[in-house]
């Protein structure tokens, strides 16, 4: 369970008169050291993964698989605890002291915030794992009521009168920021990149939003369980999960022809992991997401895997569409955050609570 540090103590034996007490004292320390050493072999490791809202099911399955893999590889037992919430809120919790060994958040900006504000991991954290530390991707789709009674097919259907749109608050939810940028990217693409028109489009869209939850799971509840709205802007995996959980006879997924490429990143929180002595296993935990098994679990949970072979195997799970990136359309996350989501940004300008 732990290693003995007490056995490494050294007492000052330089003075001759001290030799006898040291010898006597060692009589007591020896059994102590023996008792502690007995426990060295039996390792039980705990990790805390602080993640965003819709990954509950993904990591529930993945944690079990990783624990089995790690046990077979090292003989050690590992228990991974999960914490879920809106990605922005989760990042703030880690900054405030939530002792995450790893974070698996909705967007890189939130991990950047942990790096910049709390200095818990280096600024170049995204270079430490393949694919910019995003082992899987996703996108934003529409979940509508069965039969699609409002005939919603594309983003411009969302700004029509009498359409009620459910989406979380981009101030707190990573998924909401992806959805907002997906809508904005559509407007830019269809308006000849006229920012004023895009802003007008997004204003109309958020006029149709009656309520803002703090996270993706909350919005799913609002739409699917509370019966509010005509369409939910959801993570692709969250939409599939809603079908599974609330019934495919009640809802259906509409994939717009164009959406945003969401790249949820992962990272070891270096200082926390070092403090817990879990750096090695935390890195192994994230690396295993890129393994065949990790990628397959991601695909089964409707995250788009990076591994092409596994992506091909699960191609039926994912509708083909044009995916634009934050870098292409918005000049990267830092700029997008500054322009749209900081206080006084575009979102604050366009959104007026009903």
């Amino acid at each position: 369970m732990f290693s003995s540090r007490a056995s490494n103590w050294h007492f000052d034996q330089s003075k001759p008169e001290d030799k006898k007490p040291v010898k006597n004292f060692l009589k007591f320390l020896v059994p102590l050291a023996v008792a502690l050493a007995v426990s060295v072999d039996a390792k039980e490791i705990k990790l805390l993964n602080v993640s965003y809202d819709p990954t509950r099911e993904l990591y529930a399955e993945y944690n079990t698989a990783f624990a089995k893999y790690w046990k077979a590889k090292t003989g050690d037992d590992v228990t991974v605890s999960q914490s879920h919430g809106g990605s922005g809120k989760q990042a703030q919790s880690v900054i405030a002291g939530l002792a995450a060994d790893v974070v698996t958040l909705a967007l890189s900006y939130d991990i950047d915030a942990i790096s910049q504000q709390a200095k818990l991991l280096p600024a170049d954290w995204q270079n430490r794992l393949p694919d910019n530390s995003t082992p899987y991707t996703s996108t934003i789709v529409f979940l509508v009521r069965k039969g699609n009674p409002k005939l919603i097919k594309n983003w411009d259907d969302l700004v029509k009168q009498n359409i009620s749109v459910v989406v979380p608050n981009p101030k707190t939810s990573g998924g909401a920021r992806w959805a907002y940028l997906g809508a904005y990217a559509y407007a830019l693409e269809t308006c000849g990149h006229d920012d004023a028109k895009a802003k007008n489009f997004i204003t109309k869209l958020y006029k149709n939003v009656p309520i803002l939850d703090s996270g993706a799971r909350g919005s799913t509840i609002t739409f699917a369980q509370r019966g509010i709205g005509d369409v939910l802007l959801a993570w692709e995996n969250e939409a599939h999960l809603a079908l599974k959980e609330f019934g495919a006879d009640n809802f259906e997924i509409v994939t717009p022809p164009l959406s945003i490429l969401a790249e949820p990143p992962v990272a070891v929180v270096d200082k926390n992991a070092k403090r817990h002595g879990t750096t090695e296993i935390a890195m192994a935990y994230l690396n295993y997401l890129y393994s065949d098994e990790g990628q397959e679990i991601a695909a089964k949970n409707f995250y788009r895997p990076r591994n092409e072979a596994i992506a091909a195997k699960y191609a039926a799970n994912f509708t083909r569409l044009k995916l634009v990136t934050v870098d292409q359309e918005f000049g990267g996350w830092a700029k997008a955050q500054q322009t749209h989501f900081t206080d006084g940004g575009v979102f604050d300008q366009v959104y007026q609570p009903n």
Binding site: A6, F11, P21, K27, F28, L29, A96, P210, I211, I228
Partner: protein
């Protein structure tokens, strides 16, 4: 609508018949009239049909409007309901960020929302009576006394740093008992620095609030009380194994540190205690524990650092009634000082199972001493042991950490708290080589043996009333003088104790 058609057709039919009868002589006119009438009928029928269709359309429109309004209202209600739900969630979330204040049986506790900062105020007040029998030579030992009056300030800073500050205002001069900081890396690895109990005697390590008699046994005469030092310690696997290893200034037997070192040599202290079945399913063995503790120090000191000397102001080798029965008081009046090695060893064990409790310990205090006037030295090997048993008459579980009554005292509902009977036997033997060079055999006893029995009444978790009797016999001593220890050792000690204890 069908009724309208019927009456219209009937009226038109009647009109047709009448017209036909009136013009039966003119066929041409008649045919023209008939045709005209037919046209009128058709026109009227069309009007009726148009009216009917319009009415149906109006009704449908009306229905659609109502349905839309209902749906709109339904959405509004759902949205309001969800907003309220989210507001409640937000309020609950906000409440989690507010500091918490609790007042209860565990004292006054204030903590930050995340519990990383905690401050608690507790207290212990013990009011005792001691009544001695058959000791007419001792005039001042009967009476009431404030045994302990301790405010206890303790808490946590930055989640991992604990502190405790506990003075005692019962002595004539307020004394600082505990004052330490503790870094808790994990429960199994902690570092404590300051003034606190040396990890040695089992009964001495039990909190004052939980000891089973008014005074600890004779064994506690041979172990240190509190000292200033640095200690690495921890509880492994929830207490299956506990360890402590530390460096201290060193204090004499039963002594409380004066907060400063009195010699250059430091004292090493260590303790291992295991409860191997604590986490097992063997209920009868879960409360079984045993261990060993020891200290070692090399140094010389002044007389006041020995257990006690005649005229000393601190309790040294004392009876249950806190009367001195042994002192380093040679008849010559020479001063005795510590002169080298001092080590202690204490194997110890405890067992708790349901209402039963049993614990015992053995202690050796081996100390080199010197008669400072004659230069004579000796290695004195003093020993003591005790065994204490208890039984909760009211069925509560006994434990080292105290008793929580199943039915707190409330006479109005016929509930009386918890009762416990306790018994103890203890003995202390002073090394025969102590006499006569280092202690006067005519006044100091070389051995004391004591049995005690008592009844403890736990009114609730905070209030406790105790009564006990203790009988101690001595070997040696006696004398004819009028000072301690001879007036104590002259006859067996018989003392009746009572205590009112308030702890929170």
């Amino acid at each position: 609508m069908k009724d309208n058609k019927f009456w219209l057709a009937t009226a038109l039919g009647a009109q047709l018949a009448f017209t036909s009868l009136a013009a039966d002589n003119t066929d041409t006119n008649r045919d023209a009239d008939i045709e005209a009438l037919k046209q009128q009928i058709n026109a009227l029928s069309q009007k009726v049909e148009t009216l009917e269709n319009q009415r149906a359309l109006d009704q449908q429109a009306s229905t659609n409007t109502a349905s839309g309004q209902i749906q709109e209202l339904d959405q509004k209600v759902r949205i309001l309901s969800r907003e309220r739900e989210l507001d409640q969630e937000a309020a609950a979330g906000a409440a989690k960020t507010q500091p918490k204040l609790a007042v209860g049986a565990n004292g006054f506790i204030a903590s930050s929302a995340d519990s990383n900062f905690v401050f608690s105020l507790n207290g212990l007040i013990q009011v005792d009576s001691r009544t001695f029998f058959d000791d007419s030579a001792i005039k001042s030992n009967d009476g009431l006394l404030l045994r302990r009056m301790r405010p206890i300030f303790q808490g946590t800073l930055w989640r991992d740093f604990d502190f405790k500050f506990m003075p005692d205002f019962a002595p004539s001069t307020p004394t600082l008992f505990d004052a330490y900081g503790n870094y808790r890396y994990e429960p199994w690895l902690q570092l404590r620095a300051g003034k606190f109990k040396t990890p040695e005697g089992l009964e001495q390590l039990q909190d004052d609030v939980n000891i089973q008699f008014n005074e600890r046994s004779l064994v506690t005469d041979l172990v240190p009380n509190r000292d200033v030092g640095l200690q690495l310690w921890g509880d492994i696997d929830g207490g299956v194994m506990s360890y402590a290893a530390g460096i201290f200034n060193g204090v004499g037997d039963a002594r409380n540190s004066s907060n400063a070192a009195y010699e250059n040599g430091v004292e090493f202290a260590g303790r291992l205690f295991t409860q191997p079945f604590k986490s097992s399913s063997l209920a009868a063995l879960q409360g079984a524990g045993f261990g060993v503790a020891g200290t070692s120090q090399n140094g010389t000191s002044s007389a006041t650092d020995l257990p006690n000397t005649t005229g000393g102001t601190l309790a040294g080798y004392t009876t249950d009634g806190q009367q001195q029965f042994f002192a380093y008081n040679p008849a010559s009046g020479n001063t005795i000082v510590a002169a080298g090695q001092h080590w202690r060893l204490s194997p110890q064990a405890s067992y708790y199972y349901g209402p039963a409790s049993l614990f015992g310990e053995y202690a050796i205090s081996d100390q080199d001493v010197r008669n400072s006037n004659t230069g004579v030295e000796a290695d004195l090997h003093n020993t003591a042991w005790e065994i204490t048993g208890g039984w909760m008459l009211t069925g509560e579980n006994a434990s080292f950490a105290g008793v929580t009554p199943l039915h707190p005292f409330n006479p109005q509902t016929g509930e009386w708290g918890a009762f416990q009977v306790v018994a103890r036997y203890a003995a202390l033997e002073v090394d025969p080589h102590a006499f006569p060079a280092f202690a006067n055999p005519a006044t100091s006893a070389s051995e004391a043996r004591a049995w005690s029995a008592g009844l403890n009444w736990y009114l609730n978790k905070n209030i406790r009333l105790d009564a006990s009797f203790s009988h101690t016999t001595f070997t040696g001593g006696g004398g004819t003088g009028t000072i301690v220890p001879e007036i104590v050792t002259r006859q067996p000690e018989n003392v009746f104790f009572t205590r009112i204890q308030l702890a929170f």
